[in-house]
Amino acid sequence: MSTHTPAKTGSPFASPELIGRAARDALVKLNPVSLMRNPVIFVTEVVAALVTVLFLRDFLVGNPLAFTGQIMAWLWFTVLFANFAEAIAEGRGRAQADSLRKARTDTVAHRLRNPSDRTSVERVSALDLKLGDHVLVEAGDIIPGDGEIILGIASVNEAAITGESAPVIRESGGDRSAVTGGTTVISDWIVVRITAAPGSSFLDRMIALVEGAERQKTPNELALTILLVGMTLIFLIAVISLAGLGRYSAADVPVPVLVALLVTLIPTTIGGLLSAIGIAGMDRLIRHNVLAMSGRAVEAAGDVDTLLLDKTGTITFGNRMASEIIPVPGVSEHEAALIAVQASLADETAEGRSILELAREKYGITSDAAAMAGASFVPFTAATRLSGVDVADRSIRKGAVDAVKRFVHSVDANASTGIAAFDAAVDKIARSGGTPLGLAENGRLLGVIHLKDVVKPDIKERFAELRRMGIRTVMVTGDNPVTAAAIASEAGVDDFIAEATPQDKLAYIRTEQRHGRLVAMCGDGTNDAPALAQADVGVAMQSGTQAAREAGNMVDLDSDPTKLIEIVGIGKQLLMTRGALTTFSIANDVAKYFAIIPALFIAAIPELGLLNVMGLHSPQSAILSAVIFNALIIIALIPLALRGVAYRAEAAGTVLARNLAIYGGGGVILPFIGIKLIDLAVAALGLA
């Protein structure tokens, strides 16, 4: 799997330029209109402004300023740190967008005046192309826009999009007919029908996505924001009512202190990091070379219950391979292998080469082309379904079982030796899910070659992982049910669809969804498009057709179907990070109460000093320390928000227990330690 990315930076966190830019952006983001998108931080900004007004009043009337001034400064820092977190996350995307934008330079297009006449072209700017225009792209040209090849074949360098510099073949018809604007034709020529208007091309969308310009709150993010607003309101009520309750108890609390209490209690930690977590989640996908068309799709990936995986390329290697040679009685294994090698010498297919490899490894036969001097090779055709070699008076053939039998009978109408054993071997191979390949010389059946789908070595463990996470895997294959069942059991999938047609896939997805399950699949062909559109997470291959890419809600630039498993992991990690930081943020409040409440009332009710379990230096240093901790924790957690919490494929119960211990338990304990340490520093520096 290629994970090379165009804008992959060395440092996981940020470079100095990025930090500098983010620091500037943090100031710009103080604009209250834009900050309203983030209610918790908006409230923090409003009360920071309030404290600033009080500070100025104190300044004008000559009251002591040190304490209010420090509270004010840290409140503003809280807002700035939250803005900074978002800016850092956005900055990393922007770096990628810049490198993408280089590919979108103003290219010149050769537009055909008449689609069927390749000789009459006019030069226009790529920006003036309209839907349905036909353009000619020749070697060395940049493809001016997204489109479908209607004529020709070419090798194309798609490094601008995928970061992979090895050229790929694109041709008209079939599943590899889509081209992307901004990529370069290396050889030959193609005629492309433009399918995306300028400004809405794949590259444009990609830039918008990585820049976060199109970012909208995802469903879970929205729900979480509502929860945070609710928590903010609850604490607003608790703090405002304290004005009255405090007065009753002769413990009038100054406004800056009430504000300090409010800001430490409202969930500023998760509020400040929420959008950074979302942006970083998208960014993680992009680093895996997957483009999600919406954040909603990323979240849905975390919720997936059923994965539809194509057998070929995902579960098995693309090609069948020879695994054994079963000779008929009277023929030694070695002899059969030798003849199989001779039949395959000119066979350039993967099956043919796997026979040579098997013979070399198992029987020590090295192919000796010299011995075959004067041979004439018989290529495979769909009509004969046989291939082989004629040398001297020997006619060696291998191929489909019935075709091989027919060949033998055509040479010797009465041939019957070994037929029973031959049929038995064929039967055995078919039952085990393999493909039998007959082998014969002249009128004599020699044996059967067992071609086998080879399941990728570590795929079974990955499916077991998925099962532990509660995700069912379903193998989709065109094989017959017997073959499919054998491979399914070897690979350890939960279910399979044999002899699958596109309609079968669609029907299966609909059934799953009716049972309330979310389905993810990947596909590349035009006939996959309906299923891709129906699936909750449809990952289209970059190498696929335009229709497939339009239908899916993600595109994998590496065209690697296995990546579906990673995508699910990224979706889950995104949700986990939000949940973990929310839990952490709320759990923090316990310690903050023990810091601030005794400090608020100790003057009026000295006995409440009993609640000062941390033994903080003075009421003022306690309040200040809680506010400082509250601000610094945002900065401290930015790397975690960007990286995501540790993710392992485990059952929900196990994941919950661990995360609860770390972020819930840790969230209760850590601030006790942190606030105490800050208090020691504040006292040592004489700040309060």
Binding site: G230, G246, D305, H515, E607
Partner: protein
């Protein structure tokens, strides 16, 4: 604390569970519309009532329709009871000739009984005619409890169903709740109370000659009939001013045990019924675990605090084994008083057999905090279960994301709509309690009603609004609440606490009912194990603690630390 005290507590709890399990099964069948034990007897009555009212029991309502029916029904209840109390002087069965109630007291009382709060700004035996007690208050005792049951069942149906538009028929659920659950239990346990010495008579008083030869008039009336439903329906409004501390309401330790059992049994049974109705009894067991954990902890703290007594009195030579007996009945003692206090507030009953204001500050904070947690442990009849389910929704959302999936509870996805409504519901309690308390704490009109100065006075304010907004109805003692300010604001707090909570809760029901019920997999957040019990307990305590800790620090906590330091007011 004594072994005997704990034994008493354990036996009562065991008896509650022993009865709640079969009763839960019975209620599950009842609300699922299946045949029950009493169907052959009550079926004709039920069908007759539907014919009389022109209700088709098969027609279901949407969550909105159900809520509107409930609101209309309860508005009519308030209007009727208000009218009745205002006209009390003209109505029959008024042997002592009590006059009509003032507008603010009538409003407060009508709201109080319709919202299942049963806050009493008046003394029953000196204010209410027998007619008001029987036709007004006792009727609402049944109806408010039935309303709670109906709403909880509607929410449970929303969880149990898949892609459904209806959540049941409000009038059918009301009829069944009264007819099959509340009436039979009230009749049986009411007779048991009569056997234990609770009077049931239309005579308003009896005249006795005391040992000194003086004549004494002792108030009586149809006490048992009101006592039974007041406890079973977690209403709590006493016939007499001192409620279940009165010998006619609660004559013996056995009647006391029966009353605690009565308070708990239906709310607990409903949790078990919930497990059966959603087809997963493990879910119910998890909720029972949460309830047991917090309730027993509450009982233990109150019992411990009361048994520890007050240092100043101990220093003055009081027998340390006696603990703090101020405001408690000798026939109940410390354990049964502490248990009654925790149960009556963990529920939304509000009956008292001791004066909570006379508890030690820490012991008195337990009932106050249990109310502030939302009275969900196990809470009022019906209202406890739906409150607990709303908390479960929030818990699942906060922590559920940590398993890497959109949170689900009982197979229903918890999304923006549910979170929004759950948060709106949860906001009601702090808004009503802290909002009103914050104002009352500085308002001379309000402060005039206080019975004590210092932190204890603040506790009186906090407790009154907690009790009203939580629809509990118990009083801390000390506060004279029969004034326009208190009657009006407490009435508003009761309305908010009941209906402003129900409306968003029913919006959740409507949204959930329409969603498909997803099958659980190993990737689903497990909500039936010990982990969830701990998590839900933690969220309830932390969320409640965070909201009320500053206020409690100035009230009972301040008083406790000052008491320990020997300071008095």
């Amino acid at each position: 604390m004594t072994v005997l005290g704990w034994l008493q507590i354990a036996i009562i709890l065991a008896l509650v569970v022993a009865a709640a399990v079969p009763l839960g099964g019975y209620m599950a069948r009842l609300y699922a519309g299946e045949r029950t034990l009493l169907s052959s007897v009550l079926g004709p009555v039920e069908r007759g009532l539907y014919r009389l009212a022109g209700t088709d029991p098969k027609v279901e309502q949407s969550a909105l329709g159900y809520t509107l029916a409930m609101l209309a029904f309860n508005a009519a209840g308030v209007a009727l009871l208000y009218g009745l109390l205002r006209l009390q002087g003209l109505l029959p069965f008024n042997p002592l000739g009590f006059g009509s109630l003032s507008p603010d007291l009538a409003f407060n009382t009508a709201v109080s009984f319709v919202t299942n709060t049963n806050w009493q700004s008046y003394g029953g035996e000196t204010t209410m005619s027998l007619f008001s007690q029987m036709a007004g208050l006792t009727v609402q005792n049944f109806l408010s409890a039935a309303t709670g049951l109906a709403l909880a069942v509607a929410l449970v149906r929303a969880f149990a169903r898949s892609n459904a538009s209806g959540v049941g028929n409000f009038f059918v659920d009301m009829t069944r709740s009264v007819l099959y659950v509340l009436l039979p239990l009230a009749i049986i346990t009411g007779l048991a109370q009569v056997a234990m010495g609770v009077p049931q008579t239309l005579n308003a008083s009896v005249t006795a000659t005391t040992l000194e030869g003086a004549q004494q008039t002792i108030a009586m009336g149809p006490v048992a009939s009101q006592m039974a439903i007041k406890q079973l329906g977690t209403n709590g409004g006493g016939f007499f001013n001192v409620n279940a501390a009165h010998p006619f309401e609660n004559p013996t330790p056995f009647s006391n045990a029966l009353e605690i059992w009565q308070m708990l049994v239906i709310s607990m049974a409903l949790v078990f019924a919930f497990g059966r109705l959603i087809g997963d009894r493990r879910q119910a067991r998890a909720l029972v675990g949460v309830i047991a954990l917090i309730l027993v902890a509450g009982i233990a703290i109150a019992y411990w605090a009361e048994a520890a007594g007050t240092p100043s009195l101990l220093a003055a030579g009081l027998d340390p084994t006696g603990g703090n007996m101020e405001g408690k009945e000798v026939r109940f003692g410390l354990a049964a008083s502490a248990m009654f206090a925790a149960v009556t507030t963990g529920l939304s009953d509000g009956a008292v057999n001791a004066m909570h204001g006379s508890f030690t500050p820490l012991g008195g904070m337990v009932p106050m905090f249990l109310i502030q947690l939302g009275e969900i442990l196990p809470g009022g009849v019906g209202s406890g279960l739906y409150g607990l389910l709303v908390m479960a929704v929030i818990t699942v959302f906060v922590a559920g994301l940590m398993v890497g999936r959109t949170p689900e509870y009982l197979g229903k996805k918890i999304e923006a709509k549910e979170v929004k409504m759950a948060i709106l519901a949860v906001l009601i309690l702090p808004t009503a309690i802290l909002g009103f308390s914050g104002v009352a704490a500085v308002l001379p009109d309000a402060l005039a009603g206080l019975g004590n100065a210092g932190p204890h006075g603040l506790s009186e304010i906090l407790y009154a609004y907690s009790s009203a907004a939580g629809n509990n109805g118990s009083a801390f003692g000390g506060l004279s609440a029969n004034s326009p300010w208190w009657n009006t604001t407490l009435g508003l707090a009761m309305l908010l606490g009941r209906f402003a909570y129900i409306v968003p809760m029913m919006a959740i029901a409507g949204s959930l009912a329409a969603k498909p019920r997803l099958a659980a997999s190993s990737g689903t957040f497990p909500t039936h194990g010990l982990l969830f019990v701990g998590l839900l307990t933690g969220v309830i305590l932390i969320l409640g603690g965070l909201q009320f800790f500053p206020a409690l620090a100035l009230g009972p906590l301040a008083e406790q630390v000052q008491m320990l330091a020997g300071k008095t007011f």
